[in-house]
């Protein structure tokens, strides 16, 4: 620890902090422009220059490390004059766009102009008039407003590790651009836009719609995936205008992804229903909420009386809150009396590692996931750590993904070969001497190894558990998909799981449906009609006596329901989610779209059936704390759940292949989509809304197909055609379809890995 004096205030800090950090601790404000907490100091703008005693040169506070006894002056006449000149120079070339610039009101250049009192420009203004760049579907680029602070370049380099943009040319000709001025074609994560201090990079979904001083900010947690990022919902009059972030809130350090930043119009979607609908004949008739609850209560009571309590099954989506999940299962178990609660999640793979564990890790293995698409923020932490460690990242995936740029080892190949390779890898970790021994040794010898795996593949889960058994120091991170994938399991909404992860035995849904045991279905939010796991039962479900569907949107599943009740999305209710770290975080209601929450629906139906269940989030939370041992001592404001990590005798499950076609098909991802909320965002679907069959360049030549031609996939009696997309990283003989979007359910219902044939289509 060293002691420094800043503007006369003494403060003690670690010896490796910068003057800026020390000033923050001392409560002294130093103006900055090109500095950002998540980036390495750059020292470009010179705004943070301060005087250091006995040093003839002024030093930039953001880059200069403190020394014991250093005396720093942060404001005086000399510094004030320089700051004024710096802003004056920036304003010479800056277009006078404030009235039409989205950044107005939250613009660093405006703030500094005001703070430094720049009231005149002694030199001739010379703004350019370059056309605004709209080649990027989400981010508008107005290069004339750019102040060349370099934050966008640096975040794309140091954090995202894609290096999509950089400085071009020199001196006053410097511009930020892409390589060879190609149209922007990156992940569109929007990190660059989030750090731009001026209105040079703007959110096209928000563009021109509002002004920051009109907007109310609500802090909540994003519901697009399992990362659990803290977001700030900017809203006015119950419209969501923008999603923003902040470094100091939550666990995501101000990082978000394309879905969170640009997909929010799905909540404002005009296609959302406001009233319940009941099926009459072939049509749907609008009814009131009260009528809907009555219908539901009556039908469920009827089925229960006629066929028994086990004639009603529940299918729960991993998108609902912990509180809703708890109430749903209570309703199922206590009001209906059945244990038949199903979801696409399982209790087989529990969270263990956190983002902090990833940051501290010296060896990360990513097993068989397209991590940067599935869980973008976890992917970012992995990239930052790999970059910092200059390696120590090992990835297994059939084709190269964005992690290639920072991975020290990347194993690709046909899925069947990859599975054997992963098996060898795990065997080597367990002690066998084989071709993977070198890599395995790295895992065994690492101080803090982290294993990230796909929890939806039983084979991969087994591999991960075997690694954990052999290397107890390893932390496992299951890459869960949805915002509350883990929470609903903890609350007991997974097949064979009671609240608190207690086990019970129930038959599978397919069995029950095959034996025609279920007469009524309550489907909370899950779009089963486009989910491969439910492909085989959808038809039967459609034919049952009563199907209640609650969903924010009138989905394909709603179209097979008897009764549809529209409910709130995650920005419209309170509650909590448990993310892939096992962290419980509260969500806050930001807007009201005049629809009820799932909890309210359940409460009302229960009431009509003679039971009293709360829908108040606080009350439910108390119940959870009392009845779910696992959550008893957990702080719902970001506390971690301590899962019992016991690896008992492992049943050695290996991923299997179905079919005997020529090409191996694996589950890929559709860019920017997680398939549920995102399909209702006009902005995300504008870019990608059609699933594509990805094939290799060699195969495309062999089959004589080009981009956007049609090819049919044939597997075990199914023949479905898809548009072709040629992927240069796809190995020969391998194809993929996105599993996180509608369109491929029939194909994927056949199994996890498929051997298919490809049939050319004339069209």
């Amino acid at each position: 620890m060293v002691t420094v004096k800043i503007d006369g205030i003494e403060v003690q800090v670690e010896s490796n902090v910068t003057i800026l950090e020390a000033a923050e601790k001392a409560g002294v404000h130093i103006p900055i422009l090109c500095h950002d907490k998540i980036l390495k100091p750059f020292g470009a703008c010179r705004v943070c220059l301060v005087e250091v005693k006995n040093n003839p040169k002024l030093m930039t506070a953001c880059t200069t490390p403190v020394a014991d006894g250093m005396e720093i002056t942060t404001t005086n006449e000399k510094l004030a004059k320089i700051r004024k000149t710096l802003i004056e120079l920036l304003l010479i070339n800056h277009p006078l766009d404030c009235p039409v610039c989205d950044k107005g009101g939250e613009c660093t250049l405006q703030d500094l102009t005001y703070e430094f009192g720049v009231s005149q420009i002694r030199f001739d203004p010379k703004p350019n008039d370059t056309p605004v760049d709209h080649t990027n579907p989400f981010i508008e680029r107005d290069i004339d407003r750019c102040v060349l602070c370099g934050r966008c370049v640096r975040i794309c380099d140091e954090v995202v590790n894609i290096q999509a943009i950089s400085f071009q040319n020199r001196g006053t000709d410097t511009v930020i651009g892409t390589a060879f001025n190609q149209p922007w074609n990156c992940e569109f994560c929007g990190q660059c836009m989030s750090v731009c201090p001026v209105g040079s990079l703007n959110n096209r979904v928000y563009l021109f719609k509002n002004r920051p001083w009109n907007l109310e900010k609500t802090e909540t947690v994003c519901g697009f995936c399992s990362c659990g990022c803290t977001i700030l919902v900017d809203h006015e009059d119950n419209e969501v205008y923008r999603i923003k972030e902040e470094y100091d809130l939550g666990v995501n350090k101000g990082l978000l992804c394309v879905k969170g930043r640009f997909g929010f119009e799905s909540f404002n979607s005009v296609k959302r229903e406001k009233n319940p609908k009941i099926k009459t004949g072939e049509e749907y008739k609008i009814i009131s909420n009260e009528e809907a609850y009555k219908v539901a209560a009556d039908k469920l009571t009827e089925i229960k009386n006629k066929y028994g309590k086990d004639a009603v099954a529940f299918i729960v989506s991993p998108r609902i809150t912990n509180e809703e999940a708890f109430i749903v299962q209570k309703f199922a178990r206590e009001v209906i009396g059945t244990n038949y609660i199903f979801s696409s999640e399982s209790a087989d793979c529990l969270p263990e590692g956190t983002y902090a564990d990833v940051e501290a890790s010296d060896d990360i293995t990513v097993l068989n996931i397209d991590l940067t698409e599935a869980n973008p923020i976890l992917g970012l932490f992995v990239r930052m750590t790999a970059r910092k460690n200059e390696g120590g990242l090992r990835v297994f995936y059939p084709k190269y993904t964005a992690l290639k740029r920072v991975a020290s080892e990347f194993y690709t190949g046909k899925p069947s070969e990859l599975i054997s390779l992963m098996e060898s890898f795990v065997k080597a970790i367990e002690g066998e001497n084989n071709g993977c021994s070198e890599a395995a040794a790295k895992v065994r010898n690492a101080q803090k190894p982290v294993i990230i795996f796909n929890p939806y593949s039983k084979g991969d889960v087994t591999l991960a558990k075997r690694i954990k058994k052999a290397v107890p120091a390893a932390k496992l991170i299951p890459a869960k998909l949805k915002n509350n994938s883990q929470g609903i399991v903890d609350m007991g909404c997974s097949a064979g799981v009671l609240p608190g992860l207690k086990k019970t035995e129930i038959p599978s849904l397919e069995e029950l449906v095959a034996k025609d045991k279920i007469k009524g279905f309550v489907i909370i939010g899950e779009n089963i009609a486009v989910n491969p796991s439910y492909y085989r039962v959808v038809d039967s479900i459609q034919k049952s006596e009563f199907v209640l569907v609650t969903d924010p949107y009138f989905t394909e599943t709603a179209k097979i329901s008897t009764l549809y009740i529209p409910v709130a999305s995650f920005v419209e209710k309170n509650g909590s989610f448990t993310n892939l770290e096992g962290r419980v975080q509260r969500i806050q209601k930001a807007v009201d779209k005049q629809v009820v929450s799932d909890a309210k629906v359940i409460k009302e139906i229960a009431l009509l059936m003679g039971a009293s269940l709360p829908d108040d989030v606080g009350a439910i939370e108390n119940m959870i704390k009392q009845e779910v041992e696992l959550y008893k001592d957990v702080d719902f404001n970001g506390g971690l759940v301590r899962y019992p990590y016991i690896i008992d005798d492992l049943v050695n499950t290996v991923s299997s292949f179905v079919g005997n076609g020529k090409y191996e098909l694996f589950k890929g991802s559709l860019r920017f989509h997680s398939g549920t909320y995102t399909s209702w965002s006009p902005d995300l679907t504008k870019v990608y809304n059609d699933i594509m069959l990805e094939i290799s360049e060699e195969d495309s030549k062999e089959l004589n197909v080009n981009e956007n031609d049609m090819l049919a996939v044939e597997i075990d009696g199914i023949l479905k055609k898809f548009k072709v997309s040629i992927d240069k990283y796809m190995p020969k003989g391998v194809v993929s379809l996105p599993a996180n979007y509608k369109g491929a359910e029939a194909v994927f219902s056949k199994g996890e890995y498929l051997r298919v044939n490809l049939v050319k289509h004339e069209r």
Binding site: L89, G171, T172
Partner: protein, 595 residues
């Protein structure tokens, strides 16, 4: 007396200037001549060797050829062309008769009188592409002494004692700098030779590398041994293809002879030297930008601290020195720090190489002991101002430096005196100006350069220099405004204080010094819309002054578009409708008769 025994040697200057003047053709002519029938008889059966050497210094007189006959003083011929060769061979080499009309005159030898060609002593004697020639002249003796007789600490002490200061412009005591890097923790340390030499008009480093590349390599070896560096880079600007060619060749042959690589001279000392070419950026002469460039990054400077001596190339301790600094080292080791310190002044030891250019008779490369005055440099070494014009100012230190007016001509040339006078030593560029140079134009020239070369990272340099340049452009085109001078000075101060690197910190210097000493010129441009030196075309009327015109007709002949009418015995007249303002008339008029 010629120190070469029994072999006749013909030394031909093959630095870039020599080559550009036809050095290759002259060399071929000599070789051809020696092979011709009957010539050996004429030469009385003696051996004749034609040798390419480095820069001799007086580049204005290229192609320079030295004839070394055994037992006689070497004779220098100036402006040699292939046509002159047969005569020289026949008469001088064959008959021992110097061809007086072509031989160098007194002024050539006056050029060398005040110089002390110490660092350059072998440049011009040694064939830069022949390592054995370098060894025959004492090459690689210094590193042998260092490895066999001295410890690294002793080497650093010796360099400190010598008082050697960085020759790249910074003037930082070299021994002290080495000490920082040596003290840094870590096994892997880098040594970098800055051969980027971006100053316009500077060619000191180029001449050293082209003329005697091995002295630089040897200097780097000494530094590497002292500091503990295993890897080294010579960063040479790509605009020096001849230097690059010679350095590559020198490194290769030095490796083959065991002077570079592992187990140098049979010891544990290893040093691997690589060449990295620049890519056309002046800013990459700044050490942190240079380091970024070697790393493959964009050549933008980085904040210091941390200093390269602690964290430099790829995060490792790095020491960067200039070409000339390295070239001094073998001499310091062989002649001793005390001898070295006996040259120069109290605080600036040794000699300095300067590149003399501009309005001076003897343009070229000179090496003088520290302490001689600017006046001596320009008038005694440089031969004074040609065309009978008057001295006006001299720019020292290139675009980072400042100008000195006549009143300061007696300033001694050493680091501190020049800074006190408002200029700086810089890397050694000296541009002399006469009364036909407009000082506002001079400032504009240098600022145009620095503005174009600004990397763009920091606000004050990127936008500030452009803003200053815009004001100067207005002034020189007749649109100057009241208050411009004050604004320029004010902005200049802020740019100097706030800029990230030396480029921005020194770019305003030419403007500041020209305003300080020639403010009246600025005022004339702004208030009277006139350019007193008649260099700024928009402010020149192009009217012949009847009272000063001597009716010589030179302007009439010089005008490329025939806009001047003149008859013998009559005053010249310029037709403004035809005049394209090229200023040929003004430049050529010996009587300053055109306004």
């Amino acid at each position: 007396m010629s120190t070469l025994n029994d072999i006749i040697e013909v030394h031909i200057c093959m630095g870039t200037a020599g080559v550009a003047s036809g050095g290759h053709e002259v060399m071929e002519a000599f070789e051809q001549e020696f092979k011709k029938e009957g010539v050996p008889v004429v030469l009385k059966e003696r051996n004749c060797k034609v040798k390419a050497t480095g820069c001799r210094g007086l580049c204005a007189r290229d192609v320079l050829v030295d004839i070394h006959l055994p037992g006689m003083e070497p004779i220098t011929y100036e402006h040699v062309t292939p046509e002159m060769v047969p005569t020289i061979v026949q008469e001088h080499i064959g008959n021992g008769q110097v061809v007086e009309k072509w031989a160098a005159k007194k002024d050539y030898y006056d050029f060398y009188k005040l110089q002390k060609r110490y660092v350059l002593k072998n440049c011009g004697k040694v064939d830069p592409e022949d390592i054995d020639d370098y060894i025959a002249h004492g090459g690689y003796e210094a590193i042998k002494k260092v490895i066999r007789e001295m410890t690294p600490e002793q080497v650093i002490e010796e360099v400190k004692k010598s008082g050697l200061r960085g020759r790249g412009g910074g003037g930082f005591p070299t021994g002290v700098k080495w000490g920082f890097c040596r003290a840094s923790k870590g096994d892997l340390k880098y040594l970098i030779c800055n051969a980027d030499e971006g100053d316009p008009g500077a060619f000191m480093d180029r001449s050293v590398i082209e003329g005697n590349p091995h002295v630089v390599i040897e200097g780097m070896l000494i530094a590497a041994y002292a500091i503990g560096c295993k890897e080294g880079y010579i960063y040479c600007r790509a605009e020096y293809p001849l230097a690059i060619k010679r350095v590559k060749k020198a490194i290769k042959i030095a490796e083959e002879r065991g002077f570079l690589g592992k187990n140098i001279l049979g010891t544990n000392f290893e040093f691997h030297l690589h060449l990295k070419e620049g890519a056309g950026a002046f800013v990459c002469g700044e050490e942190t930008a240079l380091i970024a460039s070697i790393e493959g990054e964009r050549g933008m400077p980085r904040s210091r601290p941390p200093f390269p001596a602690v964290r430099g190339l790829w995060g490792k301790p790095t020491n960067v020195n200039n070409v000339e600094t390295f070239a001094n080292l073998p001499l310091i080791i062989l002649d001793g720090a005390d001898f070295y310190a006996s040259m120069g002044t109290e605080k600036s030891k040794g000699t300095k190489i300067f590149a003399l250019s501009g309005k001076v008779k003897s343009t070229g490369l000179v090496e003088v002991p520290m302490g001689i005055t600017v006046r001596q440099l320009i008038f005694d070494v440089g031969g004074g101002i040609p065309k009978k014009r008057k001295f006006k100012a001299v720019q020292l230190g290139g675009p980072s430096g400042g100008c000195l007016p006549e009143s300061l001509l007696d300033t001694p040339i050493d680091y501190d005196s020049l800074i006190a006078a408002g200029a700086m030593m810089g890397s050694g560029g000296v541009v002399v100006m006469d009364e036909t140079n407009c000082m506002v134009n001079v400032a504009q020239f240098f600022l145009t350069f620095t503005q174009r070369e600004s990397c763009g990272k920091c606000i004050p340099c990127r936008i500030g220099t452009k803003t200053m340049l815009d004001v100067l452009n207005r002034i020189t085109s007749g649109q100057g405004r009241e208050g411009d001078i004050e604004n320029l000075l004010d902005l200049a101060q802020d740019i100097k204080t706030a800029s990230l690197c030396g480029l921005g910190q020194t770019a305003p210097n030419p403007v500041i010094t020209t305003i300080r000493y020639f403010r009246h010129e600025y005022e004339a441009h702004i208030r009277d819309k006139k350019c007193p030196a008649r260099e700024c075309a928009p402010l020149i009327e192009f009217v012949v002054a009847d009272d000063r015109c001597k009716k010589c007709g030179i302007c009439f002949k010089a005008c490329p578009v025939g806009a001047i009418t003149w008859e013998k015995g009559k005053v010249a007249y310029i037709d403004k409708s035809k005049c394209v303002k090229c200023r040929e008339c003004i430049v050529n008029c010996p009587f300053n008769a055109i306004d």
